[in-house]
């Protein structure tokens, strides 16, 4: 068992692609397995099984929907909509970024896609209007964190598949925590804007507001369709992903006319490549997880945690501290496929609702996206805005602190995650 993890960690450190690090570690694990013989045909067989899940098609389709939105002008209209409705107080562009991220979150489900789309539009605009560029990067990175928490969410699909729970319930569990995060980010933006004397926004008359809103109606309908579809059970969660793509294509090509037919092949191929990398993580995690299960590591960890506490809330706090540390160095999806096979049985053993547990795990690991040294969103905005990484990391601290507060609230008050899933 120790060989499995040691070789895996070593390979990660050496810069091996994460999925391959798991496959190579699993190969070593099988070769050095002493209690019984396991044929290496188990490797491709379990990898094939690991990715043969119908629900996983949502990963591909939601990535595709996000790409269509970005290239089809839907994102720009959502930013404009947030711009005319958010107040004009000092630092209001920070709030516009958060607001636009919330609306994007209701469609795309990928933090990196949201940060890229909003960052490309907002960082130059904020720079021109006199905002410190490191602050602009920080508020956009923090806002993008909401993407995988508000439905739809790719990490929640991955969790649901690994924990064998309902994707729709997982989606709904993230809505309230996501909105709570957004509300806090907006307040923080306002406070920072006032304290540091950021520019005041221009006055927007009602005619402009109505014009921009009318233009954004089609874009705004998409998150509503997704949320109602999930909550009312009008479509299955997988069907929603396809409806989202078809709707985004229709709006981009025929309503906004900003996406050409000739752009579609590259767009579909790009979405396919991005989703293949995520799918391969799940495929590679299958033999790795099998070896983890064989070694009964979860039982040992449960025993160890039991010696500290048997209170579910306390155990959740311990698991969260562990995952926050993991999030410092690992990206969310690799962290999920590595640690969930051991953590999910612990949650079940202690009677923690798997939806609540999943929501907590997803929020926790998403926080890792804005924590240095390996905060992926910090890297994304640094690269887009040509901003020093350290400067963004420093500016993101107030937002990071609020994210940890929200995580703690979701741990302590399960209804925050579970209330909207009642009756589903």
């Amino acid at each position: 068992m120790s060989l499995l993890f040691l070789s895996f960690l070593l390979l990660l450190l050496l810069g091996t692609e994460v999925g391959f690090a798991m496959v190579i570690a699993a190969w070593f694990g099988i070769e050095f397995k002493t209690d019984r013989f396991v044929d290496l045909v188990m490797l491709p067989t379990s990898m094939l099984s690991g990715v043969s899940f119908y629900a996983l098609v949502q990963i591909t389709l939601f990535i595709l929907a996000g790409e269509i939105m970005n290239r089809g002008g839907i994102t720009r209209r959502l930013i404009d909509f947030a711009g005319v409705w958010v107040g004009r107080g000092p630092g209001s562009l920070g709030q516009v970024s958060v607001g636009a991220n919330v609306m994007m979150a209701g469609i795309s489900g990928s933090a990196v896609a949201d940060a890229t789309a909003i960052g490309k539009a907002m960082i130059p605009e904020m720079r021109v209007k006199g905002y410190p560029v490191s602050y602009s990067g920080a508020v956009i990175a923090a806002g993008a964190l909401i993407g995988p928490i508000i439905p739809p969410s790719i990490p929640m699909v991955v969790y649901a598949q690994m924990a064998n729970t309902s994707v729709a319930k997982m989606f709904m569990s993230g809505l309230l925590p996501g909105l709570l995060l957004a509300a806090g980010f907006m307040v923080i933006s306002a406070l920072i804007g006032r304290a540091r004397g950021f520019p005041v926004g221009p006055k927007v008359d009602w005619r402009t507001r109505l014009k921009v809103s009318a233009s954004a109606v089609w874009a705004l309908l998409l998150p509503i369709i997704i949320l109602l579809g999930i909550r009312l059970g009008l479509m299955t969660d997988t069907e929603i992903s396809s409806v989202a793509v078809v709707y985004a294509l229709f709006v981009s090509m025929f309503v906004y006319r900003s996406l050409k037919l000739s752009e579609l092949p590259e767009l579909f191929a790009s979405a396919g490549r991005s989703s293949a990398v995520i799918l391969f993580l799940l495929a590679a995690a299958a033999p790795f997880s099998w070896l983890v299960a064989e070694s009964q590591i979860a039982d040992r960890v449960v025993d160890m945690i039991h010696t500290i506490s048997t209170d579910p809330v306390m155990v959740l706090v311990i698991i969260n501290i562990l995952l926050l540390l993991v999030g410092l160095v690992l990206e969310p999806l690799p962290a999920m496929v590595i640690f969930l096979p051991a953590l999910i049985p612990i949650g079940i053993d202690l009677g923690i609702d798997p939806i609540h547990f999943g929501c907590v795990v997803v929020i926790n690991l998403m926080i890792g996206l804005i924590t240095p040294p390996v905060g992926l969103l910090l890297f994304v905005v640094s690269s887009i805005g040509k901003i020093p990484f350290i400067a963004v990391a420093r500016e993101v601290m107030p937002f990071l602190a609020w994210s940890i507060v929200v995580l703690f609230l979701v741990v302590v008050f399960p209804p925050l995650a579970l209330w909207l899933t009642l009756g589903m």
């Binding site: 390979l11 990660l12 450190l13 050496l14 810069g15 091996t16 692609e17 994460v18 999925g19 391959f20 496959v23 190579i24 190969w27 044929d39 290496l40 045909v41 490797l43 491709p44 990898m47 094939l48 990715v51 043969s52 899940f53 119908y54 996983l56 098609v57 591909t60 389709l61 595709l64 479509m235 299955t236 997988t238 069907e239 992903s241 396809s242 409806v243 793509v245 078809v246 579609l264 092949p265 590259e266 579909f268 191929a269 979405a271 396919g272 490549r273 991005s274 989703s275 293949a276 990398v277 799918l279 391969f280 993580l281 495929a283 160095v329 690992l330 990206e331 690799p334 040294p373 390996v374």
Partner: protein
């Protein structure tokens, strides 16, 4: 013929293969979209399916995963942690990267050989709700692995000869 000219020809071949793979991947995604959306139509409006579309989606996902991964390797869209790459000198990195590539090649060869075994068994197992056998998705694993082997091998050769950074 110099190594540089061979390298240029390999790069041209890689671009052609890459374009073909992009078309294939794009078509797979279109296929997946059509399958899932047609199920929505089938469930709510009129009957489209007699067979089980879920099983076709699963097959498509396997092919997309492994062939898409090979293409993602070509375009360097993979997930890696680069902590040591920030601090170690280039010469040591070249040795470490070559070691990693050797390990990847070894595991890819194992996967290729064992995928053939898997296909031999799978061709006698029908996928319920379809007329296909389990060999169809299993070929997807093999295809992806066979695309990755020359890619990793050439990357390694290039690094040794030219000292070029990965990939």
């Amino acid at each position: 013929m110099t190594f540089e000219s061979i390298d240029r020809r390999v790069a041209t071949l890689a671009r052609i293969v890459g374009s073909v793979l992009d078309i294939f991947i794009g078509l797979l995604v279109v296929g997946l979209l059509l399958l899932v959306f047609s199920q929505f139509i089938d469930r709510n409006f009129f009957v489209l399916w007699r067979q089980s579309p879920e099983e076709y989606v699963k097959i498509g996902l396997v092919w997309l995963c492994f062939v898409g991964l090979a293409r993602a390797f070509m375009t360097d869209e993979i997930i890696r942690i680069m902590i040591l790459h920030e601090v170690l000198p280039p010469r040591i990195l070249t040795i470490l990267d070559t070691l990693v590539d050797l390990l990847m090649l070894a595991v890819l060869v194992i996967l290729a050989v064992k995928s053939v075994t898997m296909i031999q068994v799978a061709q006698y197992q029908m996928i319920l709700g379809t007329n296909l056998t389990l060999a169809v998705p299993a070929y997807g694993v093999l295809a992806g692995v066979l695309l990755l082997i020359p890619l990793i091998a050439w990357r390694m050769v290039r690094r040794i000869v030219l000292g070029a950074p990965r990939p």
